[in-house]
Symmetry: C2
Subunit: 336 residues, 2 copies
């Protein structure tokens, strides 16, 4: 899968940055490929890149329109389709990471075929996936897990992989969601896999490797999520992680979008992942905690992390403040 | 979905009755609809109905060939396709509960279109499933769970539903697998659902109901299964069961087909389902244990169940020996 850059990222009238995480992930990790954002009036999200219409994008040489939101259930509002069709008409590739398939929208298909642009559905799982075998594979694996969706599992995995490679380790980021797949150009959209094959897909994503190699696997959802827990458990069992990092948002109290569900504590989250993860890797252990502290007052962030570190005895970071160095150090200490 | 009876059930050369559970379930619960079984030489499974070729079946008025096995991964051996194609040629409907789709096999499609017979794929999930909301629904729910696959979850749910209705209770069996769906003609093939929508599908399967109504939901897989745990957790969270019954095979020591994985103990199974199930229903409780004792010597069966009952304090039955009466009594005691 090779996407044509530069990109225009469609955010629409999204009010909650939580749901613009596809767009924001691309801006964070591939800023050199992003020309602008397309926002409708009322949009509360700003990714800090130039606002641009489809016409402006075309005149500036943009080559792909990427749908940059991931709303619950993955439904695109009707009024967006006009913009998407217009972009396809004007020759932009359309890149879609939602569950829906662009080929099911005849106007878009017609527009793309007339202009010879491409319709790219990221969330199409590989065919003929196996059922998970539970067999031990060579090499080591780290999985980022979380107390909720959208708490930094992808960001933390990308940052860890970067730090590990900078430290001379042999590691590969393994994408399991649309944004990660767009960022690195490979991966398996684990939440689009048929239920019987979730852990089989996870096994395929991090195959046998050399003994010193680390797969750094992007987690999905949370075991505590009333909607997505099955994805998280299948991914945990199939990944057979030797190590996991818990991701959490310091100010979040309830499951985002499921406000009648309280967030689990970090302690519960460590305990549950250890208990369930031991089924396919008896040696699983938590090696660090990654916190999004951006909602805390600036002068409280360090104290929050220090307190958490004292409570848990684990390295606690905000990857945007501190990088992942102390978690990588811990990993090296435990596994060498 | 209305199937045309009588049925011929294709078992092929299956050596392990565990994998012939679709055929056996139909024979057990709809014997009046089954004309015979089609077995190849070397077949170790006998469902106790007449052996029959396709030609014999046609001459005896059989109207459907049902694929009666559920092998790991759902792959049909190549040599079976000749028989299936022959049956379609001769006008039998073909009923398939595996993940594969009959329409993907051109010879079968051609044979069926020439004879005007139907190709029926049971394991096609409904379209536009929602993500699970985790919202409490009215009415009560019982889920059968297990220490492994193929330990009697479907049988127990069907037997419980029957006992409950005989006791004057208001209950409905909810099928989640191909055999259950073929038996009752309705249900959702939960293991064929895209991972993000497992618990949403489970919520749809047991919708709001009257306060006195019980949904008796067929469990799938087990939380302890290295291949299928994601299905089991999504189904548990979406079903929000008030009550669950643990199903177990008295002689099984390892996960069937995954012999490097020991079976969990019944105690671990109760504990894990209670702990995880509380997330969407804080009042969940185990109300009984259903054991397949057929592998034990006849004179040991009662003692096994008595010992288990003393250990756990729960009603323990073999539904084929004792029926489900004492579990239904316990249910009435707890929930009235």
């Amino acid at each position: 899968m090779k996407l044509n850059a530069p990109y225009l990222i469609l955010i629409g009238e999204e009010e909650d940055s939580t749901y613009a995480k596809t767009g924001q992930g691309i801006v964070q990790w591939r800023p050199e490929l992003v020309a602008g954002q397309l926002r409708f009036s009322g949009c509360q999200v700003d990714m800090g890149v130039p606002d641009m219409t489809v016409d402006e994008a075309v005149s500036q040489g943009v080559r792909s329109l990427i749908i940059g939101v991931a709303p619950i259930g993955g439904i695109i509002p009707d009024n967006w389709w006009n913009v998407i069709t217009d972009a396809a008409n004007q020759g932009l590739d359309i890149v879609n990471g939602l569950h829906l398939k662009l080929k099911d929208y005849p106007k878009v298909v017609e527009a793309a075929s007339q202009s010879d642009s491409r319709l790219i559905d990221i969330r199409v799982p590989p065919k003929n996936l196996p059922v998970g075998t539970g067999m031990k594979r060579l090499g080591r694996r780290l999985l980022t897990v979380g107390t909720d969706c959208a708490v930094g599992k992808k960001y933390t995995a990308l940052a860890l992989d970067k730090s590990m490679r900078e430290a001379g380790m042999n590691s590969t980021f393994r994408a399991t969601g649309q944004t990660g797949i767009i960022i690195v150009g490979a991966g398996i959209p684990i939440d689009a896999i048929k239920a019987d094959f979730i852990s089989g897909a996870a096994e395929m994503l991090s195959p046998d490797n050399t003994a010193d190699h680390w797969d750094v696997i992007e987690g999905q959802g949370t075991l505590f999520h009333p909607g997505y827990s099955g994805v998280s458990l299948g991914l945990l069992h199939g990944s057979q992680p030797d190590a996991f990092v818990v991701c959490h948002d310091a100010t979040r109290k309830v499951i985002s979008g499921w406000e009648h569900y309280p967030l689990p504590s970090i302690g519960e989250c460590i305990e549950m992942h250890t208990q369930l993860g031991q089924r396919t890797n008896p040696d699983i252990s938590c090696v660090g905690i990654s916190i999004n502290t951006s909602g805390l007052p600036t002068d409280k962030r360090e104290k929050y992390l220090n307190n958490l570190q004292m409570e848990t005895g684990l390295p606690c970071i905000d990857p945007l403040m501190d990088g992942c160095g102390i978690i990588v150090d811990n990993l090296n200490e435990i596994f060498n």
